[in-house]
Symmetry: C2
């Protein structure tokens, strides 16, 4: 199994279009790495790739990643797309995968309903019957990920319910445990397990148990502090209001996940407000010292 | 009046994600300029900018354009967004303008209905009452473009009906002459007129008359040949099927617009299949010889 980080930022990216905080200014000036929005690509055979989430930056992410370039006049190495929730920053990239290419999309039924019901834009991916094939993920059940024609990619995924929240545009809907998931990725040949949990409001026993078997964990690095937006003068919302467990503090993920056996632990989905984006910050040193890495766009990982 | 080309490619951009044609390969290898999807930014006072179309690449286009960077923790120099039609490549960028920033959007009523009716995603731009202000453009009537609070930008726009077609995702709707427009931009102080017509199926008298008063014309450069996709082995659709007048040939725009008095004539919205993307091509030489320029991302124009 081989993973590539296509994007390592939370919604809005780094820099964010309407933000001139310290990190956004540093990213514009090239003093810290710019980051596109959260997405991973994974392959077992090196030929067929599975996208995990479809960020609004997908077009430029694909252009920057030679392994995902087409190998014929009309072709894509992308066999399937898996969505962890229905957030704008995880789904809008689907509309960049038009041009009559067959697509296989996997998500929970709740996420798919939120995206496809009453959303006229998805018709752009339905130019001919069968162009877009939706296949549901059932929480707790391993699914072999296949291309639109049904050929398996060798990647097996198990959805794990992760405490989260509905996307802002769906807040009038009834919440469900299918709204937000983490993914356990298995390469059947190597029996290696990798976890991807880019949005986590709380770590419960179910999630800890799921992460405990993974040799590599990508985890929600949105905020370092519960009151990070207030500290930086960027807004009143707290991390909990936005359904993201902060990294630091007594109940933060550094503490809660300290005993995970994973060899690689990587924070991703990092918000522009997060001090760990600056390699010289105290918070980044705390993360480094605890054996965590901060994802950057283009990072390759062999779990 | 000052204009910046944010993106100069047709839908899909150059390179296009699933295309390995000659131009897309050349763009990936850096032999020809890569291009993001069609959008312009225009200002009169150098402070407040109006976006013409919101491409899926908007986040990276803004990051690449210092004049459009925020000047405070939460700020944007973007006063308004004007849409010429409801195509995915002209509208999806709206979803990158979230983060609770007030927005003023101008388009015809038909385009706005197609985008907002039955499209749950637009709720992400309605986080508080009045966040998104829609103001209609009436064909043939000059409109002073103002920011969300109503302060004028100094840019005045007149919508001109341009023969085109409905976006693919709206093909079941009844067509209207409001579906696709060209824009006449006027800087009242200088009395200069600039035209922007990125999608034109046919040049009729109404459009010719409108373009005749402009000192600068941005025009649909999608295809050079009527059968360009077939010639390149990229598909069966003809330029007419996709509602784009080709540049070349007896009825093409080079011939049809030869007598326009405009000092600057610029082809934009250029498809990845178009040979004019290669500066050494015969077709590019024909365009150059006729006094037309081919837009590139970042090009600045003072009409």
């Amino acid at each position: 199994m081989r993973l590539v980080v296509l994007g390592s930022a939370a919604g809005g990216g780094v820099p964010q279009w309407n933000c001139a905080c310290e990190n956004c200014r540093a990213a514009r000036a090239g003093r810290i790495a710019a980051r596109t929005q959260d997405s991973l690509a994974v392959t077992v055979d090196g030929e067929r790739w599975v996208l995990l989430n479809a960020s609004p930056d997908l077009r430029v992410q694909l252009a920057a990643t030679p392994a995902l370039h087409p190998r014929a006049a009309r072709h894509t190495p992308i066999a399937a797309i898996v969505l962890t929730n229905g957030d704008i920053d995880h789904t809008v990239g689907l509309f960049s995968l038009r041009e009559s290419q067959p697509l296989a999309v996997y998500s929970t039924r709740a996420v798919w309903r939120g995206l496809a019901d009453g959303n006229v834009l998805t018709r752009t991916l339905e130019r001919f019957p069968g162009q877009l094939v939706f296949r549901p993920l059932e929480i707790g059940h391993p699914t072999s990920i296949a291309d639109p024609a049904g050929a398996p990619t060798g990647v097996e995924i198990t959805a794990v319910a992760a405490p989260g929240k509905l996307p802002v545009h769906l807040l009038r809907s009834a919440p469900s445990r299918e709204d937000n998931i983490a993914l356990l990725l298995r390469d059947r040949a190597q029996a290696r397990l990798c976890a991807y949990a880019p949005g986590v409001a709380r770590v419960d026993d179910e999630l800890i148990d799921a992460l405990a078997g993974a040799s590599c964990v990508f985890f929600d690095g949105t905020f370092y502090y519960e009151d990070e937006l207030q500290r930086r003068g960027l807004g009143a919302a707290r991390a909990a209001d936005m359904a993201h467990l902060p990294i630091g503090g007594p109940g933060g993920s550094l503490t809660r996940l300290a005993r995970l056996p994973a060899r690689r632990r990587i924070y991703t989905h990092v918000n522009n407000s997060n001090p760990i984006l600056d390699p010289s910050s105290e918070e980044r040193r705390a993360v480094d010292a605890a054996g965590w890495q901060v994802a950057e766009d283009g990072l390759e990982v062999l779990p």
